[in-house]
Amino acid sequence: MANISIRNVSKSYGALNVLRPFSLEIENGEFVVLVGPSGCGKSTMLKILAGLEPATEGQIFIGDREVTDLAPGDRDIAMVFQNYALYPHLTVRQNIGFGLKMRGTDKTEIDRRVDDAARILEVTPYLDRKPKDLSGGQRQRVALGRAIVRQPQAFLMDEPLSNLDAKLRVHMRAEIGALHKRIGVTTVYVTHDQVEAMTMADRVVIMQGGIIQQIAAPDELFNNPANLFVAGFIGSPGMNFLNSELRDGKLTAFGQQISLKRATSAQGPVVVGLRPEHLVLGDAPVTFGVRPTLVESLGSEKYVYFDAEGARIADGEEGKSKGLIARVSHTGSLPRNQEIRLGFDPAQLYLFDAKTGERL
C-alpha cells in the first residue's frame, strides 16, 4: 500500500490536449473515483498512471518512488479493465496466478495465494474452468482476483462494472467497497456513473474536457458544487437551472422577486440552481403555481416536470431536457396539466456566475 502523487501530468496528441496539467495527492488506503462524461480524460489519466500511455509532461510517484518512466509491470500496481481482459486460453487459476508467475513467485506460494484470493471472491468452484464458461459476474470476480492476488501498492479500476446488468452492478459495487475496506489498498477508480462515484469514493475527482472541475468528498460535492458543471453532474435527477438577474440581493424567478437569505455582493445576470428534491408540494417560504407537463411515478415519490420562464438546460443535456423537475413525496395521483403549487426555501438556492459558471 502506498500514497500516489500525480504532479502536473498532461497529455496531448499533437495539438489536441486531452489532459490539462493534472495534480492529485492520493492518501495511503484512499478510494478515489475519477468521474466525468465520455472523453473527459479520466481513462487517459488512469492509463498514464498504469504506464500504458506515456504522459506528455509531469511526474507520477507511487510511495516514494518516481514511476513516470517505468514499464507497467515495474510499477507494482494492478488493474481491472472495463472488459475484464481475462486470458481466454488460461484457466481461472492460471489467470489469477499469471502476475505472480511473471514475477517468479514460487509455485506453492502462487497456489496458496490464488486459493486465498479465490476464497475471498467466492470463485473457488470455478478455478479449473476457462473464462468462457463463467457468467459476467464471475468473470468480474476473476478480474478482481487477478488484481488482489499480487498484493500491489495500488488498484486501478477502469469502469469495471459498466458491462454488468443493473442488479449485478449494485451488488458488485457493494462487494468492491467491502473488498477495499477489507484489504485497504489505495484505489483509483474510473467511472462515468455518478452514483458509483458517490457511493464508493472517499474522494471524487470530477473532470470535464481534460480539466479537473472539483476534488471533494461525495457529500461536499453534492452540497457545495464548485461550478455549474459539477452542480449539474452530481445528483439524480440533475439540478434545475434558471437564468436570472441579481439586483441588490434580490433575484427574479418563477415570476416573483425572491430575497436571498445570505449577503452577496454579486450583481447582474446569474444562473440559479435548485435541486429537484428541494422543491416541495404546497406551502414553503416561496411558492408558485405550475402545470406539470409530465408526471413520472416511482411509487412513493413523483418526478414532476414543468416549464418555467428562464429555464436553462444543463451542459451536455441539450435535447434531452423535459423542462424543470421537482422530486416530491406523494403517493396519490397528480394529473397532468392541472395546476399544482410547488415551493422551496431560498436558502437552498445555488447561484452561479452566468459567464464563468463559477459558484457565487
Binding site: 504506464g51 507497467p72 472488459n83 481466454p88 486460453h89 511473471m102 473464462p131
Partner: protein
C-alpha cells in the same frame, strides 16, 4: 426454421455439385494411375479401370527417387513457412497494434508485391541468387517462396490480431510482461487458429510451386522438389501418364497429412470469455 422441399433440394444440389467439382480431379488422378496405358487413350473413357494396376505405386516408388523429391519439397516448404511466419507475425502484429507514420500506406504497399506474377520476379531473383552463389540450393526456394507468402500472410495475420482485444496485452504488461512477452504469452496462443490457417496457406503455396524450382534447381537433381521431379518423367516421345499420376498421388499425401494435423487448430472462438 424448417426448410421447404425445394430449398432442401437446392441445398443438396449445391453441395453435391461443389463436391463433384472439387473431388472429380482427385478421382480422375487415381483412375489414371490405376489404368493401363491402352485404357488411358480409350474412347469413350472408362470411369473405373477393368484391371486396376495397383502395383503402379510400388513400381514408380522403386524407379524414381520419390522420397528424395518429397524430402526436398518438405525442406523448402518448412523453411518457407518458418521464415515467412517469423516475418509475417511480427509485421502483422506491428500493423495491427502500432500506429506509425505512413503505417496504413506501408501495409497496402506490402500487398503490391503480391500483385506481381512469379514469372515477372523469377529473372531478378535469379540474378540476385546467382550473385550470392545460391543457384542450385534449396535456400533459393525458401527465399523466393517467402516473397510470395509474406505479403498475403501479413495481411491475414493483421486481420486476426485486430480481433484480439488490446486490453489483453495491457493486462499482461500490468502483470509484468514486456511487450514481446505479452505477445508471446497471451496474443500468440489466442491467435492459434489464425497462425494455423496462415501456416497452411504458406505450406501449400510453397509445396505447389513449379516455376521457381524449375528456374533455380534444374541443374541440381539432388535438390529437385517433387513437382520438378515429376515433370522429368514426361518423355520426349512417350509419356506414361499412369506413372505420373501415381507419383502425383504420393505428392498429394503430405498436404493431406499436414491439413489433418493443423485442422484441430483451425477452430474459431478462442477469444471467447476474454471480454464481458
Amino acid at each position: 426454421m424448417r426448410r421447404t422441399l425445394a430449398q432442401s433440394l437446392a441445398l443438396y444440389a449445391t453441395v453435391i455439385f461443389t463436391l463433384v467439382m472439387i473431388l472429380f480431379p482427385v478421382y480422375w488422378l487415381l483412375v489414371t494411375a490405376l489404368s493401363t496405358t491402352d485404357e488411358l487413350y480409350r474412347l469413350p473413357p472408362t470411369f473405373w479401370p477393368d484391371d486396376p494396376q495397383w502395383d503402379v505405386f510400388a513400381r514408380v516408388w522403386a524407379a524414381k527417387p520419390i522420397l528424395l523429391w518429397l524430402w526436398n519439397s518438405m525442406l523448402a516448404a518448412v523453411g518457407s513457412v518458418a521464415l515467412s511466419m517469423l516475418v509475417s507475425v511480427s509485421a502483422g502484429y506491428a500493423l495491427s497494434r502500432y500506429s506509425m507514420r505512413g503505417g496504413a500506406t506501408m501495409g497496402l504497399f506490402v500487398l503490391t508485391a503480391k500483385m506481381l506474377p512469379a514469372t515477372l520476379l523469377v529473372i531478378p531473383l535469379f540474378s540476385i541468387f546467382s550473385s550470392f552463389g545460391l543457384i542450385g540450393s534449396l535456400w533459393t526456394l525458401v527465399l523466393a517462396h517467402s516473397t510470395m507468402i509474406i505479403p498475403f500472410a501479413t495481411w491475414m495475420l493483421k486481420g486476426y490480431f485486430d480481433t484480439i482485444p488490446k486490453e489483453l496485452e495491457q493486462a499482461a504488461m500490468v502483470d509484468g510482461c514486456s511487450p514481446i512477452g505479452a505477445m508471446v504469452r497471451v496474443v500468440l496462443p489466442i491467435a492459434t487458429p489464425g497462425l494455423a490457417a496462415t501456416a497452411l496457406y504458406a505450406f501449400v503455396l510453397s509445396w505447389a510451386d513449379y516455376a521457381y524450382a524449375r528456374t533455380f534447381l534444374v541443374n541440381s537433381p539432388d535438390n529437385w522438389t517433387a513437382n520438378l521431379g515429376i515433370t522429368t518423367m514426361q518423355g520426349e516421345y512417350v509419356t506414361y501418364w499412369n506413372d505420373i499420376a501415381a507419383a502425383s498421388v504420393f505428392i498429394a499425401l503430405p498436404i493431406i497429412a499436414i491439413y489433418l494435423f493443423l485442422e484441430r487448430y483451425l477452430v474459431g472462438g478462442l477469444t471467447a470469455g476474454a471480454e464481458k
